[in-house]
Amino acid sequence: MDPTTTGTASRPGVEVAASDRPRLARHVRLTFCQTRQRHILQQPETVVVLKGSSADILELCDGRHTVAEIVAELGARYQTVPDDEVRQFLTRLVARRYVELADG
């Protein structure tokens, strides 16, 4: 009896800048699931199973690191992390209200 949702409006136009300091929204939790051996992002009604470096990015979304610093940190961990890929990932999460931005 799961509902037919017409979905939450995404929010075009919110572009993540290098100086932004992203943080997880208040209602969002980042956890590690032992059963799946994966990091998980949780909202009241949704679960996202994270892949690749996305958990590393989100762990750095603490409201202190700037996007530029996150990109640099990931670059140090994994040789190739294109700046625009991190920005696009965060832009998608901001649009879905998983991540909020504090100005730089």
Binding site: M1, P3, C33, R36, E45
Partner: protein, 367 residues
């Protein structure tokens, strides 16, 4: 077979409200022997081990359980994301503070309309003011708040006012979900089903509000599936992502599935992991092998999983048939007729709503 993500823990079916759209089972007397605190603790541990990440504490009214704070603390200590689904009756400030301290993550409060007289009439009891107060407490304590409104023919014209109320209260999410016709709501279906004109008007309002509120509030809008071309992907597939445990410990793929003629499975008799993997109530419609045509050969079979088994059963008497909501279903006429009746010019607009009788307290020994 996947691991489930969510557990719907239906702690009790007792409820102070008497909503005509209630989707809980008709045979409430069968659920009076409620699981005790330590039984719920075991269920939560087994659910976590099975891969459950989210725990929706629901009912009935979960606040009627005196051990709710303990259950929340147990779920929280297991690392589950905890969500209280409540009418807010009984959510006093001290109780809310205890729940906050126990680690409750999110609160969803239902309201029946945007103003007291209509809301109280639909709820069958004076409740509007207390709900508004409780929403204020939830916000003050720093919880994210979802306001939930079940929409139907008698309140869908008030969607703009409902949005304004949610905005004024500062809800983080607003769920505007049309009634689903199970349990008690099935009895009231013809009185609850809105007309196409009503739905179209509501959709325009919702679309504009989403645009305007996009930085502040998520607005979830659920149409009645009777008006869809294809069925809903019910529960993301039968026994695929979610499971329900009823107040007496029965395990189901979804809360409406108790109506289906399938053998019972209970946490009192078996481990949750085994029930999830092997019990007929879970395996009956898992995957696509059970599907008849037109689903079997349909390109959408992995998208909507044939729709809702409970709806197929309610409408046709056979849970394995294609959900009659689908325009390709050989039984689609059953839905089309209900929609036609809801839109008939001759339609009297005062079909009576039958409120669900109150059942707040456990009855004495004699039923």
């Amino acid at each position: 077979m996947d691991s489930p993500f969510g557990l719907l823990a239906e702690l009790t079916y007792r409820c102070p409200l008497a909503c005509a759209y209630c989707s809980n089972p008709l045979n409430m007397a069968d659920y009076q022997d409620e699981l005790a605190t330590d039984e719920w603790r075991r269920v939560l541990v087994e659910a976590r081990d099975l891969g459950v990440l989210q725990c929706h504490l629901s009912g009935g009214e979960p606040l009627l359980r005196r051990d709710l704070v303990e259950i929340v603390a147990d779920a929280h200590d297991l690392g589950l994301y905890t969500n209280l689904v409540t009418s807010a009756l009984g959510l006093s400030r001290p109780r809310a503070e205890q729940l906050r301290a126990a680690g409750l993550d999110h609160v969803q409060i239902s309201i029946q309309a945007d103003e007291p007289a209509v809301s109280d009439r639909i709820a069958g009891t004076p409740s509007f003011e207390r709900k508004i107060e409780a929403m204020g407490v939830v916000k003050e304590l720093g919880w994210p708040l979802t306001m939930n409104v079940v929409l139907h023919r008698h309140n869908i014209d008030r969607v703009a006012d409902l949005l304004a109320l949610a905005e004024e209260i500062g809800a983080d999410r607003l769920e505007l979900a049309n009634t689903q016709y199970y349990g008690w709501a099935w009895r009231n279906r013809d009185a609850l089903l809105p007309s196409r004109t009503q739905l179209e008007a509501a959709e325009v309002v919702v679309r504009a509000a989403r645009d305007r509120l996009r930085d502040r509030m998520d607005v979830i809008y659920v149409i009645p599936d009777y008006y869809s071309r294809y069925p809903k992907p019910c529960m993301g597939g039968w026994a695929s992502r979610q499971l329900t445990v009823t107040p007496n410990g029965d395990v189901l793929p979804c809360p409406a599935a108790q109506s289906l003629p399938l053998p019972r499975a209970s946490v009192r008799e078996d481990a949750l992991e085994r029930i999830w993997a092997e019990s007929p109530v879970m395996t009956a419609f898992r995957g696509t092998h059970w599907m008849p045509d037109p689903c079997r050969s349909c390109d959408r079979r992995e998208l909507d999983f044939g729709g809702c088994r409970c709806q197929a059963f309610l409408l046709t008497g056979d849970a394995a048939r294609t959900d009659p909501v689908c325009h390709l279903s050989p039984d689609h006429d059953l839905v089309a007729r209900a929609v036609e009746a809801a839109n008939a010019d001759s339609r009297a607009d005062d079909l009576p709503l039958i409120p669900r009788p109150h059942r707040v307290r456990r009855p004495a020994s004699v039923e």
